[in-house]
């Protein structure tokens, strides 16, 4: 699992020399069972190998992005793609300001904006399964979800983060794959989040037929013990793709070809 330096390193440095290029790690192929039951079924899912950013996209990363892409600056971006809360904590369109530390995950970015950022580093948003596959690990195990102590620790960690801002990156050990801060700091957009439909009040699975007609997936929680994960799904599915929430950020993944 060697970090793969992103391909466009030199190009990005030319635009924003202060930014350190993002690290990606290879996530090996494997099988796992999602905590979500999509359309009423839980099945073993075969995950191909892919590469994931070791850390959430930071405020500094995002500043470099808007510097290079004026169409994504606050005030210029189309309101269809980013709502009124877009980068609301920033002092100005190119000035995050002292309230927003550079090493903090960027939040208040819409799903559309996150998607554009990832495309800008030849990557994409992870699928829910990709995110969940990596997030199932703890520091030593590929799948630690059966450990009540681990589940409680995640929950306590999330609840301890109060106020409007997520915490700082790097306070916890990297997980089994070398990925950091995937569970505790913030909710992260996934590429397909908008196609996940719990019943609108999230207490029971929606009726499959209706949702299939509408192009979505009825979603239920197969593993009802994953409270941190259920909170995440509830928080994400309440959002429209143009919403910008103080606790929602993202990280990117890349396909690995030829493996």
């Amino acid at each position: 699992m060697k970090p793969i330096r992103m391909a466009g390193l030199l190009m990005l440095l030319a635009i924003a020399p202060a930014v350190i290029a993002a690290d990606y790690v290879t996530i090996p192929a494997g099988q796992f069972v999602s905590a979500l039951a999509i359309d009423g079924s839980t099945s073993r899912i075969a995950m191909p190998s892919f590469a994931m950013r070791t850390e959430p996209v930071t405020q500094a990363d995002y500043l470099a992005f808007v510097a290079a892409h004026p169409e994504w600056r606050r005030g210029r971006v189309s309101p269809l793609l980013a709502g009124p809360q877009y980068l609301a904590a920033w002092q100005g369109p190119l000035t995050p300001g002292p309230a927003v530390p550079a090493r903090q995950p960027v939040t208040e970015v819409s799903w559309f904006a996150a998607r554009a950022f990832c495309a800008g580093e030849q990557a994409r948003l992870p699928s829910w399964y990709e995110w969940e596959y990596v997030a199932a690990a703890d520091a030593t195990r590929r799948d630690a979800r059966g450990d009540p102590a681990r589940n409680q620790a995640l929950l306590s960690s999330i609840l301890a983060g109060s106020g409007n801002r997520p915490g700082t990156i790097g306070r916890h050990r990297a997980n089994f794959y070398g990925v950091r801060d995937i569970n505790r700091l913030l909710w992260e957009w996934t590429g397909d989040y908008a196609a996940m439909f719990p019943n609108a009040d999230a207490r029971v699975a929606g009726t499959g037929a209706t949702l299939a007609l509408c192009g979505g997936s009825a979603l239920a929680f197969a593993d009802k013990n994953q409270y941190a994960l259920i909170m995440r799904v509830a928080a994400l599915t309440a959002l429209e793709p143009a919403d910008d929430a103080p606790r929602v950020g993202f990280r990117c993944v890349r396909d690995i070809h030829g493996e």
Binding site: Q152, L159, G163, A194, Y227, M231, V233, A234
Partner: protein, 478 residues
């Protein structure tokens, strides 16, 4: 789930959902029970107050549009002295404010979610007839606001709560409250109205462990709460925060149980519910001691407070009251009502060992005080606190011709007891008085006899410890 969704696809699917979710047509207007027609007059802004207070009763004879504004906030507050917890709340309090409307009103609910919230929140109102009690219509991400209207078709006392996944956690963190839908004619007038909601809480630490406590998922699943609380805090209804009433007043309590898990055996120690609207509905029971409040349910009770003092609100699954915090108070002020409630005396039962004696007291006042103590602790159990005895069982010591005729005879009776028929004030008694000589000192016997001789309309006089000692010695030499 497809991996990558283009903007177009997402937009299209959202549009499709919006269309699919739309009701087919407006419901036909018909004579629907509880529907008194469209809202009339200017919209009314509901004046919400913090628990345990409630909005004023409704004096209105037409259906109105009532605007209710709630905001979900995640706040750190104390659940007991020195014990902090991150409550998830409606309007910053657990329970959220009591909402009060009239049957037939159209409620326009504005639900805001604080931008600092971790979670999306929503509201399921049990007063709503329709899917999810409005839950689906009110899912609100942080920094957003939802507006939902419903017609309150049924009168009663109803719970509202957050219904966002994981639901047990949102409720365990305190997201519930009551909505009261008054019948068109209103509720009977009472002197005081209060609002109490019970909830069970699951903390990482043990009961009273200080500091910021985290939510404990395993305790939740085991349904083993650390705290069972009224209004989200131990002491929220005791001491300076106690509910109040006056002698002769009536009190109405709107009582809910947010849960998430426990059913409450709601009881007021020292009170009888004159009326209970069972489960918050229209069936009324009378003269009830303890009533069940289901989790996710409510009740409305009324009680009279004819006697001054402190009544206790408890969950009479009583461990919760004394070990987990489910305790409140109603302080009733006013003059004593001895004809209704009167403490006459207390002391050990006959034959029980009395406390070991203090040294003989020489000072007259101290002797009287000591005599009174002995009388209260021992003699009054049979001879009664007013020394009038009990007819047919225990002879009087008050205005007693038998005692006053020969006070020194009483020394031997107290030392050795008495059995057989005697006549006191022209009435015959034939019971057994146990000997007190082994449990009372000479001084105590002298003091109590002196106390009795100089009280209860007796003739006066005194008995000394030396005289008692002499009688005791004489008994031994026999």
């Amino acid at each position: 789930m497809s991996r990558l969704l283009s903007t177009v696809l997402v937009t299209a699917s959202l549009l499709a959902i919006a269309i699919c979710a739309m009701p087919s047509a407006a419901a036909p207007r018909a004579t629907l029970a509880g529907d008194f027609g469209p809202p009339q007059g200017a919209p009314i802004e509901e004046k919400l107050v913090d628990p345990p207070n409630v909005p004023a009763p409704i004096h209105r004879n037409y259906p109105a549009r009532v605007i209710v504004r709630l905001e979900t906030r995640e706040v750190v507050k104390e659940m007991a002295d020195g014990v902090r917890y991150t409550f998830w709340t409606f309007n910053g309090t657990t329970p959220g404010p009591l909402i009060r409307v009239r049957q037939g009103d159209t409620v326009e609910l504005h639900l805001k979610n604080d931008p600092g919230s971790h979670m999306a929140h929503n509201i399921d109102m049990h007063a709503v007839m329709g899917p999810g009690g409005g839950a689906a219509a009110t899912v609100t991400p942080p920094g957003h606001e939802s507006v939902f209207t419903f017609k309150a078709l049924r009168s009663g006392t109803f719970i509202y709560h957050c219904a966002t996944a994981p639901v047990p956690m949102h409720i365990a963190n305190g997201m519930y409250g009551l909505i009261v839908v008054e019948p068109p004619e209103g509720l009977p007038k009472v002197d005081h109205e209060y609002y109490v909601v019970q909830g069970d809480f699951y903390t990482s630490g043990t009961y009273h462990e200080p500091g910021l406590q985290s939510f404990d998922m395993q305790k939740l699943l085991a349904e083993q709460p650390t705290y069972v609380l009224f209004n989200g805090r131990e002491g929220s209804l005791t001491g300076a925060n106690a509910l109040t009433s006056k002698v002769g007043d009536t009190v109405r309590l709107f009582v809910g149980d947010g849960g998430p898990n426990l059913v409450s055996s709601f009881h007021v120690i020292g009170g009888i519910f004159d009326s209970v609207n069972i489960e918050g509905g229209t069936l009324v029971n009378h003269n009830v001691q303890t009533t069940l409040v289901p989790a996710g349910g409510a009740t409305m009770v009324e009680l009279s407070t004819p006697v001054p003092g402190t009544l206790l609100l408890v969950d009479h699954s009583i461990t919760r009251a004394f070990m987990q915090g489910a305790l409140g108070e109603i302080k009733v002020s006013g003059p004593l009502q001895p004809q209704l409630y009167n403490k006459v005396s207390s002391g050990p039962v006959r034959g029980a060992a009395a406390p070991k004696a203090v040294a003989a007291v020489s000072n007259v006042n101290d002797a009287m005080a000591d005599g009174k103590r002995v009388f209260t602790q021992i003699c009054s159990a049979c001879h009664q606190g007013n020394a009038m005895g009990l007819p047919g069982a225990f002879p009087p010591l008050a205005m007693s011709d038998y005692l006053n005729a020969d006070p020194k005879r009483a020394i031997g009776i107290v030392l050795n007891g008495l059995s057989g028929k005697i006549t006191v004030n022209s009435t015959g008694y034939e019971s057994v008085m146990p000997a007190q000589g082994s449990s009372l000192s000479d001084g105590e016997i002298a003091n109590v006899l002196t106390y009795v001789l100089n009280n209860f309309n007796n003739k006066g006089g005194s008995i000394s410890a030396a005289e008692v000692k002499a009688v005791r010695a004489g008994d031994k030499s026999k």
